[in-house]
């Protein structure tokens, strides 16, 4: 349990750093260049670490199913939808919706155990937990509105000025 939470916290902290660094690349080079570079380095890093830990085992893909090859495309969907969402709604509202839908879908997934994931039976307590988190997200994002949109709107202005 604790180990699982620690892994989640590590992932979350790195996602936060990655988002900030990505936005710095995006300011200069645009979203497609950023996406390509980020995925390229992600590939190189995964390959290197995997090879260090597993050696030639890394190349043994016995139970490979065809759809596994295409699952990387989900990442392209993530970037496209988030960029469009933020462009149309502004960062505050877009990110509030993104985080809420992330959690809502997660709850559905645990409940139904799609794709052969171990089912976590739906309980009322779980629903309350998720609703409290969503309320926290909304308070965090929406009551901060005047101050928190400052950086992204500057960023957008700069993008327009360049064009």
């Amino acid at each position: 349990m604790i180990l699982g939470l620690l892994f989640a916290v590590l992932a979350g902290a790195l996602v936060s750093l990655q988002n900030i660094f990505n936005s710095k690349i995006d300011e200069h080079a645009g979203s497609w260049t950023t996406t390509t570079l980020v995925l390229c380095l992600g590939f190189v890093a995964s390959f290197t670490i995997g090879f260090l830990f597993e050696g030639k085992q890394l190349f043994i893909l016995q139970n490979m199913k065809p759809w596994y090859w295409f699952s990387g495309l989900i990442g392209v969907g993530v970037v496209t939808c988030i960029v469009q969402g933020i462009r149309l709604l502004g960062p505050t509202y877009a990110i509030s919706i993104i985080l809420t839908s992330q959690l809502g879908i997660a709850l559905l997934w645990d409940t139904f155990g799609w794709l052969g994931i171990e089912k976590v039976p739906f309980t009322f307590q779980q629903l309350i937990g998720v609703l409290v988190i969503v309320a926290g997200i909304l308070i965090f994002k929406i009551s901060g509105e005047p101050k928190w949109t400052k950086i992204p709107s500057n960023g957008l202005k700069r993008v327009h000025a360049e064009k």
């Binding site: 349990m1 180990l3 939470l5 892994f7 989640a8 992932a11 979350g12 902290a13 996602v15 710095k24 690349i25 645009g30 570079l37 995925l39 390229c40 380095l41 992600g42 590939f43 190189v44 995964s46 290197t48 670490i49 995997g50 597993e54 890394l58 893909l61 016995q62 490979m64 699952s71 990387g72 495309l73 990442g75 392209v76 993530v78 970037v79 939808c81 988030i82 462009r87 709604l89 509202y93 877009a94 919706i97 839908s101 879908i105 997660a106 794709l115 994931i117 307590q125 779980q126 937990g129 409290v132 988190i133 926290g136 997200i137 965090f140 901060g144 101050k147 400052k150 950086i151 500057n154």
Partner: protein
């Protein structure tokens, strides 16, 4: 409305990605999963760049080298994400990830690290994070 649909799908895809990676790693291993998914994603976005003839990559030289390394984090992010979903399920993993993510972003903005414009930490953000942590505690018991 259109923006909301994009944002909703974006969030759904993030969760889907975590679950798909977890599922695939059961069959072929976590590092293999990370390597393959990043590689196919990279190929797809490279195709898009060639298709739209985006020449902006020439401006990468203006980006501070430290920031260019962000992609490498993905290896550890995917590994940790898969490990945490295996141990504690999708809902609890995503919840803890979001809290860590928002808290660190909040801290970086508050301190003005990495050249971010310094933001004043305000009460609603503290209340928001506290509520999210309470929510995770409710989920865990």
């Amino acid at each position: 409305m259109k923006g909301s649909i994009f944002a909703f799908l974006g969030g759904a895809f993030i969760t889907l990605q975590g679950v798909a990676n977890t599922r695939i790693s059961e069959d072929i291993g976590t590092w293999q999963t990370a390597t393959i998914t990043q590689f196919t994603g990279f190929l797809a976005s490279l195709l898009v760049i060639m298709f739209v003839r985006d020449k902006k990559w020439k401006r990468l030289k203006y980006v501070k080298p430290l920031y260019l390394t962000s992609g490498a984090f993905a290896a550890i992010i995917i590994f940790s994400n898969v490990a945490s979903i295996k141990y504690i399920g999708v809902t609890l993993s995503i919840s803890a990830i979001l809290i860590a993510q928002l808290s660190l972003t909040f801290l970086i903005d508050g301190k003005g690290w990495f050249g971010m414009v310094k933001q004043k930490m305000r009460l609603p953000q503290f209340i928001g994070i506290a509520m999210m942590i309470i929510g995770v505690v409710i989920l865990s018991f």
